[in-house]
Symmetry: C2
Subunit: 313 residues, 2 copies
């Protein structure tokens, strides 16, 4: 085992990178731009060059490098094959082999970004101390990651933890980005929350502070609910109903120890945990009640932490 | 490793037992009655005595016995602790320790009966050749088992795979045995199917062969559907909608390779696979489409096979 490793979080706009001591301490952190030109052919070479530069700057020897972990924005199988990352322009290929060839480093671990973030939160974030965890990331979309016995559940096609597309409504007429209707993502993502609020505002006969906002955000809705605005309270309740139900469905399948809630929406804080827990309890059978719920703690760094952890486990 | 092992399937009425060579061949099979008197205190001693008798009859030496696997009708954690088996009268205790003490055999593995049956089907039944499998057992209730990388997913409280209590209807007024409403078990178990049929018959204005039956069974409904009876076809379609939706929700969480459908209801055969597959596909995201579906093959022996496999893996 080496002395240091790299954790890489490959996103559609930037690549976040972290340098870690094998004891888990992050000693450096930086970003490069994700060059998506020509079907993303420059992305891995850019990452390799950036890592190479860091190795030279810090004077590491080859044998001191334990490996590189990388989280990618799409399904990835256990051997590191990506099955298309639409927003990078990538087709099907093996990231492990390619990044190994480019860097000369053999130990390369590849994971889906949401799964990797879940592993990061288990390791040094909100899920510390647990080994069986479900993380749900409420951002522009809804992502998810399942950790069982301390390891990422990848699934047979790299699509485990796609909990944003659990169906929670049967009477929805609008279509989700995935082509289905009634997906959790349509109600619990930042965009989904705003969309539901705008729908409700059209119908609403009462007075709400939300009516004065030109462009609504999820934050405004949670803030208004905290101040007792009746419409906002109702919207937050509906958000909790949908997310709580989805987490209950997940528990019926895998019986985890804890749910970690992250992503931009989770910055609303305790109000999220309260409303989700309430509806989780209503929808889950006796043996699965009283699970732990907590907020994510690593923010945008969860991916680089989790990527490093894949190498170190 | 020994030469033989025992697989035990502990049910509320009988205990099924199998003797296996370590290559997986079942060489003997027998049953004893489950004595539930005095909170089930005789059950494990009876099992131990029956195994002891078989060992003596066949003249096995201690070192030839690889171990005993046992499936129990309730949640069981990985260390063999049962968390109440209501229909045996059992409270919380460690089955591994107790059965080891009674038999003098050290290698005892304990699992929930539905999980153990899933392992059996993976090993020598409908799921042969797969390592990531979900089994759903459609009997009096709906049971489930999840196998990941060839091993039972137990869950943090032994309640993984409780898929009979996934919520599939939001407008149900009747209560499930678990206390919730709208559980899969209310629509896809043998009892549930009959109940839904009786509900439909009350409202039905057309002519159906089901109207002539004094006491309906699930088999009658599937048989009538195969003959084109319009009401029965509609009922089977609704059954498929509910089960297909539940399996889609499961796939969004764990992305298995195959679904194995067993239990008495599954004797209806291919019609089940067709209708479930159709509604699964409607409810699952692109990356999870076209999964394998198959029927269970081991019938009532799945439990003893799976119990033996726990010892041999």
């Amino acid at each position: 085992m080496g002395k240091i490793c790299f954790g890489v979080d490959l996103g559609g706009t930037t690549v976040k990178m972290g340098l870690f001591a094998v004891d888990g301490t992050m000693t450096d952190k930086w970003e490069i731009v994700t060059r998506k030109e020509e079907n993303g052919k420059y992305i891995l070479p850019d990452i390799a060059a950036s890592i190479q530069k860091k190795i030279e700057e810090q004077g590491f020897k080859r044998e001191e490098i334990a490996g590189i972990g990388i989280g990618v924005p799409g399904p990835a199988t256990e051997d590191g094959t990506v099955l298309k990352c639409a927003n990078l322009g990538w087709d099907v290929f093996n990231v492990t082999d390619e990044l190994s060839r480019l860097t000369g480093i053999e130990n390369i671990k590849v994971g889906n970004d949401a799964n990797v973030a879940a592993l990061g939160e288990m390791w040094q974030g909100g899920g510390r101390g647990y080994r069986n965890l479900v993380m749900v990331t409420l951002g522009t979309g809804v992502g998810g990651g399942v950790i069982l016995n301390g390891k990422i559940l990848t699934g047979s096609r790299g699509a485990a933890g796609e909990i944003g597309h659990i169906k929670v409504k049967y009477d929805e007429t609008d279509t989700c980005g995935c082509g289905k209707t009634g997906c959790l993502e349509q109600y619990a993502s930042a965009t989904g929350i705003v969309k539901q609020a705008n729908r409700a505002l059209e119908q609403y006969r009462g007075v709400s502070s939300l009516q004065q906002k030109k462009t609504l955000t999820a934050k405004m809705i949670f803030d208004a609910a905290k101040e007792g605005d009746a419409l906002a309270v109702k919207l937050v309740e509906e958000f909790g109903e949908n997310l709580g139900l989805a987490l209950a469905q997940i528990a019926q399948v895998i019986d985890p120890e804890v749910f970690v809630i992250g992503g931009g929406v989770s910055k609303a804080g305790q109000i999220i945990l309260e409303v989700v827990r309430k509806h989780y309890e209503e929808n889950v059978m006796f043996a699965l009640k009283n699970k732990a719920f907590c907020l994510a703690e690593l923010g945008n760094d969860a991916g680089i932490f989790g990527s490093a952890k894949m190498v170190l486990e």
